[in-house]
Symmetry: C2
């Protein structure tokens, strides 16, 4: 097996810098669009054969060093008891957002095998089909990121409802965070038991918080989740979007790898994170719209800047954008492999 990804997670010696792309299975790829043209998004997530199929596509097309389970971060939120829909225009919609005690009380902590068996089945299929190729990453949204969707009822601009609950009713907010944290722990533990060889926790919205709120209110929950996963011998990656103001806290999360977005300089991030964690990132996804020479230049810059890290997994600083030219994503992967061998 190509285990460069797992080695880099642990800070072991690698043959070259491993690379994968957040949202590497997706709309920018014609193979994905073909599958997606026949089923809606949620059906795709919930049909193990299809979810496994699109998970594998970027392994073949891009030549990346890891596969990541195809799913949606709101799958466990639906399993907690909320009604989930996807609108082409607005993205995810959770009707009846949770903003009071009865809403929080109604949420359950789902058993993954009972209420999301398709996720575990997808993992089992993938482990079989991937054998001797690349490792499989499982994932979940971080507690706070899931909380924003639960409270806002979908995406948000200013997250006013989330912060209102935080400031006006910290008791209620904490009760919600506890339920979500238990869900995340159960969900990721089940993924690992089913065969995930690493897990990534996506804190896509942590970066809307002041460092004050992040450290005092949010961080204990995600740290607790990561701690609970330590008993499994698989690397935990903690990706914090818009992390620049938060790294001194993020460093203490206990994760093996810190995933960083593109709005922070990799060299500064490595210095701030220290030698006890590996780093993942952090090319601006929009660079993939530029010419190949420019992509190479930017890949080289990040490789240089991450050179002193304990380990480095190359990635974008956020998910692949839908209009990205596939050949440029391929060029990026090739550049990472070629330049990091030199």
């Amino acid at each position: 097996m190509n285990d460069n990804f797992l080695k880099a997670c642990r800070g072991e010696k690698v043959d070259y810098t491993p690379v994968w792309l957040m949202r590497q299975a997706g709309r920018y790829m014609k193979e994905y669009q073909e599958v997606r043209s026949k089923v809606d998004f949620l059906t795709l997530c919930k049909t193990p054969e299809l979810a496994a199929k699109v998970t594998l596509q970027p392994i073949d097309v891009l030549g990346v060093d890891a596969a990541i389970l195809f799913s949606d971060i709101l799958i466990p939120v639906e399993a907690m008891g909320m009604h989930l829909e996807f609108s082409e225009k607005k993205g995810p919609i959770l009707s009846e957002p949770v903003r009071n005690k009865s809403g929080v009380d109604k949420l359950v902590i789902p058993d993954t095998e009972d209420s999301m068996p398709f996720v575990l089945e997808t993992i089992r299929i993938l482990r079989q089909e991937l054998e001797n190729r690349v490792p499989l990453i499982g994932f979940s949204g971080a507690p706070f990121t899931l909380a924003t969707y639960i409270i806002e009822g979908g995406s948000s601009k200013n997250f006013v409802n989330t912060k209102k609950m935080m400031y006006q009713n910290p008791g209620l907010f904490n009760a919600l965070m506890e339920k979500i944290t238990s869900t995340v722990i159960e969900y990721l533990s089940s993924q690992i038991k089913a065969g995930a060889q690493a897990v990534q926790i996506f804190d896509s919205w942590a970066g809307i918080l002041s460092p004050f709120d992040y450290e005092k209110v949010i961080f204990p929950y995600v740290k607790n989740a990561i701690k609970s996963l330590k008993k499994f011998d698989v690397p935990v990656i903690y990706f914090v979007n818009n992390c620049s103001g938060l790294l001194e806290t993020v460093k203490k999360s206990g994760a093996d790898v810190i995933g960083i977005d593109w709005r922070v300089d990799m060299e500064k991030a490595v210095k701030r994170l220290g030698k006890k964690v590996s780093v993942q990132g952090n090319l601006d996804p929009c660079v993939l719209f530029g010419p190949k020479e420019h992509i190479e230049e930017r890949v080289q810059d990040i490789l240089n800047k991450a050179f002193t890290a304990r380990g480095h997994i190359f990635n974008l600083g956020h998910g692949v954008l839908p209009e990205t030219p596939v050949e440029n994503a391929v060029a990026m992967v090739e550049a990472v492999h070629k330049l990091s061998k030199e």
Copy 2:
């Protein structure tokens, strides 16, 4: 005159920490809504008596230490030759976004007195009406921030068109940036000549860039604009939204004051910015939705953290949100005054 604001900009001794709020004139205030109910937004911006009236409202209601010209950052973009509209739902819309050479060629560098006389007239009225109260701040969008609107045609999620032009056609992008920079310099110079006692440059979207792109592609333009304003003896404030990854570059801008958003710790920001600039900020606007005791606690925290700065002007880390309770904004201003005297 209460000149604590101007003194803090220059790093001189103050009686207490001066405070104003970005978007302090706006929808959250019933006095504003009353004026706005009679005219549309652009008419309000372009009618000096009304623009002056709403500029003065927060001075009376909140007791802030500075007034800021009421206008919209896209006013000079309209004067450059674009068609500007405001949609209640989508915000500003610039029809025919500029994405090629003929689009850039068509843009003019407007003379403020000729094409935006209402702005200068508003300033003249305000200086008369404000006499012996507080200083008046003029403002402009920063070159890059204006470029994003010109290229995207309005607000954007991922700024793909802007970055595409940056990466695919740097020559064209630079030509556009030069025209905008000349416009900003002319616009702010005219505001100062008309009586603005300080100016703020809003780089609302600089924080979507990697530090790499910000420093190499964007920064020279805004630095040049600030340099051109140095001949006037008025403080220049440079506000960079989502600045955490950019402060080492921002520090070199030549601005007298650096305005920072809430996603960076004030103490760290002060250390990174050094002793040659004053700082402005940086309370999360959403804190104003919380209880007054919590507002006081957060004000105290920021005052403590900014204590070693050359000078500190208290502000929010971004504009006041529309649903903000006015009494909480008043409580914030009172807390800043009271706690900073202690």
